[in-house]
């Protein structure tokens, strides 16, 4: 931000001050460690706290390590590497408290490397269920690494890799040099079926453009149009006639008219109560009656981030846009639910 752009608003931007968290997920051997190592060598990534499962796992060159303790090491480039102890919630809390006390670096980003078998949903939920974490961190991006050699088999065989792909904001294909062009195209197509909203990039020697992976999540309640679009993903139609993965549905619901907040929350309550585990990810903007700006909504399965109002609508489109990634819940079911509850609410008000 330049001086000229420095905010003169007399209120705090509830999003702008939060520390972004990137979640790097992907099956065993998909190259998470290699990617993180490459990221840490970037000059823009010199104040990162990386949370790994074991210090040895990150495989940082010894020359890079400046100070090391049982659970943490300070790298030469200024980054902090920290082992996940107990649960993630506790680790993130302690990291922030130590940062405030001046005991660790003033990290400006957290990168969490999940275990290969991990379901990223609980990691994402950690950030929205703990009030201390909610006040200090925001989810920036879920990056799922897909190993070009093994992924086609894994995606057919196991449910976890499908979920990892479905929940991603960004997909990175690794080990592309070990497969033929045709297989790569087929894999990219498959990824697109599971998660058409997440852009796919192929890593070359484990490297990927940094801008592709950062500043994906909303980072200001005064967000500009392009920032909102980047967060919501490619604004294509909901995929009528599109080929979908049999297990994962992706769709967008649009509502042109503002809706009462009660209608929206009732819809979500019904959805989460009946199909919470299948509601993989929901994000979007809601045009709420009587509000100047849109409400930002994001949830993972049955848990939702507290809603946040943007200062103003970014762009001319004022319609409610909700991106759903579900496990077996078709678009029509959700659309019908919204119209039914909308109609009930409207009748009640009439």
């Amino acid at each position: 931000m330049t001086v000229a752009e420095t905010s003169s608003a007399t209120t705090r931007d509830a999003l702008a001050g939060l520390i972004p968290v990137s979640i790097i997920t992907g099956f065993l051997g998909s190259g998470k460690t290699t990617l993180i190592n490459h990221l840490l060598k970037r000059p823009e990534m010199n104040r990162v706290a990386v949370i790994v499962n074991e210090l040895g796992e990150i495989g940082v060159d010894n020359e890079l390590v400046q100070v090391s303790s049982e659970q943490m090491m300070l790298l030469n480039n200024g980054c902090l590497c920290c082992v996940l102890r107990g649960d993630l919630q506790e680790t993130l809390r302690e990291l922030f408290i130590k940062r405030r006390n001046g005991e660790v670096i003033d990290f400006d980003r957290v990168v969490i490397e999940t275990t290969g078998l991990a379901d990223p949903a609980p990691v994402m939920q950690t950030l929205i269920t703990d009030t201390l974490l909610l006040e200090q961190y925001r989810l920036d991006c879920v990056v799922t690494l897909v190993d070009a050699v093994n992924a086609p088999g894994q995606l057919n065989q196991f449910s976890e890799p499908v979920k990892q792909v479905a929940l991603a904001d960004r997909l990175v294909v690794t080990k592309s040099d070990l497969v033929a062009e045709k297989q790569l195209t087929a894999l990219t197509g498959r990824l697109n079926e599971i998660n058409p909203k997440a852009p796919v990039r192929v890593a070359i020697n484990g490297e990927i453009d940094l801008p592709f992976l950062v500043d994906v999540g909303l980072r200001s309640s005064r967000a500009r149009l392009e920032e909102v679009e980047r967060w919501l993903g490619a604004d294509e139609d909901d995929g009528h006639g599109h080929r979908h993965d049999e297990n994962v549905q992706n769709f967008v619901l649009r509502f042109e008219k503002p809706m009462p907040w009660a209608t929206f929350t009732q819809c979500l309550e019904v959805l989460t109560a009946l199909r919470g585990p299948d509601l993989l990810r929901v994000k979007g903007l809601v045009n709420v009656e009587g509000k100047a700006g849109p409400m930002v909504v994001q949830g993972v399965q049955h848990l939702f981030h507290p809603p946040l109002e943007l200062a103003a609508w970014p762009g001319a489109d004022r319609s409610t846009r909700l991106v759903f990634i579900t496990h077996g819940i078709p678009r029509q079911t959700v659309a019908d639910l919204f119209s039914a509850i909308g109609a009930v609410t409207a009748n009640r008000r009439a």
């Binding site: 931000m1 001086v3 420095t6 905010s7 003169s8 608003a9 007399t10 209120t11 705090r12 931007d13 702008a16 001050g17 400046q66 100070v67 303790s69 049982e70 659970q71 943490m72 090491m73 300070l74 200024g78 902090l80 920290c82 102890r85 680790t91 302690e94 130590k98 940062r99 405030r100 006390n101 001046g102 005991e103 660790v104 670096i105 003033d106 006040e135």
Partner: protein, 415 residues
């Protein structure tokens, strides 16, 4: 996570920040010790000039051109006549600057207030000196001057004999509509602090006797009939000054003891009916901890209710950094073209706790929005930075100053 040793480069007293980014640092020509007078002038030629009163001799005040905030330039730096006087406090309205002078002992001069013409910032011209020296006076500690008409002054006076030597200053309203002839129009003091008062002298603070005298005396144009006064060991006062000749108390909050006194600034959030009240930490190494900044419900002026304090990092971590740690000055929402004003975002200084910003939109649960703690300045006498005062401009750039040698830090906020 038991971490031994420092997992940050530079050790314990290195720079810490959250949502504040250093964009410039000026050492003020080697005289980087600033008191609690800081104000920004929009000069006639469009330059933005930051005026700062020094904490102690030999320097009086310094002006820095911050038109380009990334490239601050020293404009003028002036000297005091001798080492037993300090300026400490100043305010600017248009082209007039008021500067306070306080001596180390009773009876010394110059003691009182100067008014300067700063229409040419390079050449401040003395308009008048308002002498408040006297046999029981050390002169003036603090000025509050925002309307161009009255200076609200914390000062002694030749005709004021206190009942205790530490209670030698009181609240004085000085008419400066004719700046060449300032004249007192009204005064108020804590009952019992002047010899001859019918009230008995107030009890001394049992642990830290800071005295009964005002520190900041704030009066805002949008509520000109109220003065908000931090009265050191006398707590916080709201005075009705609709008749400037006869200020009348309408609200009082005393929380010391059990707390450790030295109420410093009473900042009213006028539209919301709340007060932000800061204490001053006056002892090193945590001796007088806790020194806090209080959020006080003042919707009923006669019944002031503290509802929260601004959260600070653990004292045990910061006390080790050296020097003072705890509350002190606030950005005071002053009127004027170069001042930030907010009823929900509060900026304060906390000595080795740096400059910190808070969101008080929910007064019951203030939240930390950002902070900047500089690394230890060169030759720092306390072994740490001691951030003393803060000015926030209308673009929300933060200007924080060190008490001893660190000079001026300019910061961008990202919250």
């Amino acid at each position: 996570m038991a971490v031994e040793g420092s997992l940050r480069p530079g050790g314990q007293a290195s720079q810490l920040s959250l949502n504040m980014k250093l964009i410039a640092h000026h050492e003020l020509a080697g005289f980087g010790g600033i008191g609690e007078g800081i104000n920004m002038q929009k000069a006639r030629d469009g330059r933005r000039i930051l005026w700062m009163a020094h904490e102690s001799a030999p320097k009086n005040f310094t002006a820095v051109d911050v038109t380009d905030p990334r490239n601050p330039k020293l404009v003028v730096q002036t000297d005091l006549p001798h080492a037993d006087v300090r300026s400490n406090s100043l305010d600017v309205v248009g082209d007039i600057m008021a500067v306070a002078y306080q001596t180390k002992k009773w009876g010394l001069k110059p003691a009182g207030m100067d008014l300067f013409d700063i229409s040419k910032p390079e050449q401040p011209k003395l308009i008048s000196h308002f002498d408040t020296s006297g046999p029981c006076s050390r002169g003036a500690h603090c000025v509050f001057f925002v309307d161009g008409e009255y200076v609200h002054l914390t000062s002694g006076s030749p005709d004021f004999e206190p009942t205790h030597e530490k209670d030698d200053q009181f609240y004085r309203i000085i008419d400066v509509r004719n700046p060449s002839q300032p004249a007192e129009v009204g005064r108020w003091w804590y009952p019992g602090t002047r010899k001859g008062d019918s009230a008995p002298p107030p009890p001394r603070h049992p642990k830290f006797d800071g005295g009964y005298r005002p520190h900041n005396t704030n009066v805002y144009p949008q509520k000109p009939d109220r003065a908000y006064i931090g009265y050191i060991d006398g707590g916080a006062w709201i005075l009705d000054i609709s008749d400037k000749t006869k200020p009348k108390p309408v609200g009082h909050l005393q929380y010391s003891p059990p707390y450790n006194g030295f109420t410093h600034t009473v900042l009213p959030l006028i539209e919301r009916g709340y007060l932000i009240i800061s204490d001053e930490c006056v002892r090193d190494n945590g001796e007088d901890w806790p020194k806090l900044t209080w959020v006080v419900d003042a919707r009923v002026e006669s019944n002031l209710v503290p509802v929260a304090t601004l959260p600070l990092p653990p004292a045990e971590s910061f006390i080790k950094r050296g020097g003072r740690f705890g509350s002190h000055n606030l950005h005071e929402n002053l009127p004027g073209p170069c001042s930030f004003r907010s009823e929900t975002l509060i900026f304060g200084t906390f000595f080795n706790g740096g400059v910190r910003a808070y969101d008080v939109s929910n007064p019951l649960q203030p939240k930390e929005a950002g902070y900047f703690v500089p690394g230890t300045p060169k030759l720092a006498p306390k072994g740490s930075s001691q951030i003393n005062d803060v000015w926030v401009d209308e673009n929300r750039l933060v200007y924080a100053v060190d008490r001893f040698g660190g000079g001026l830090y300019t910061l961008e906020t990202t919250f």
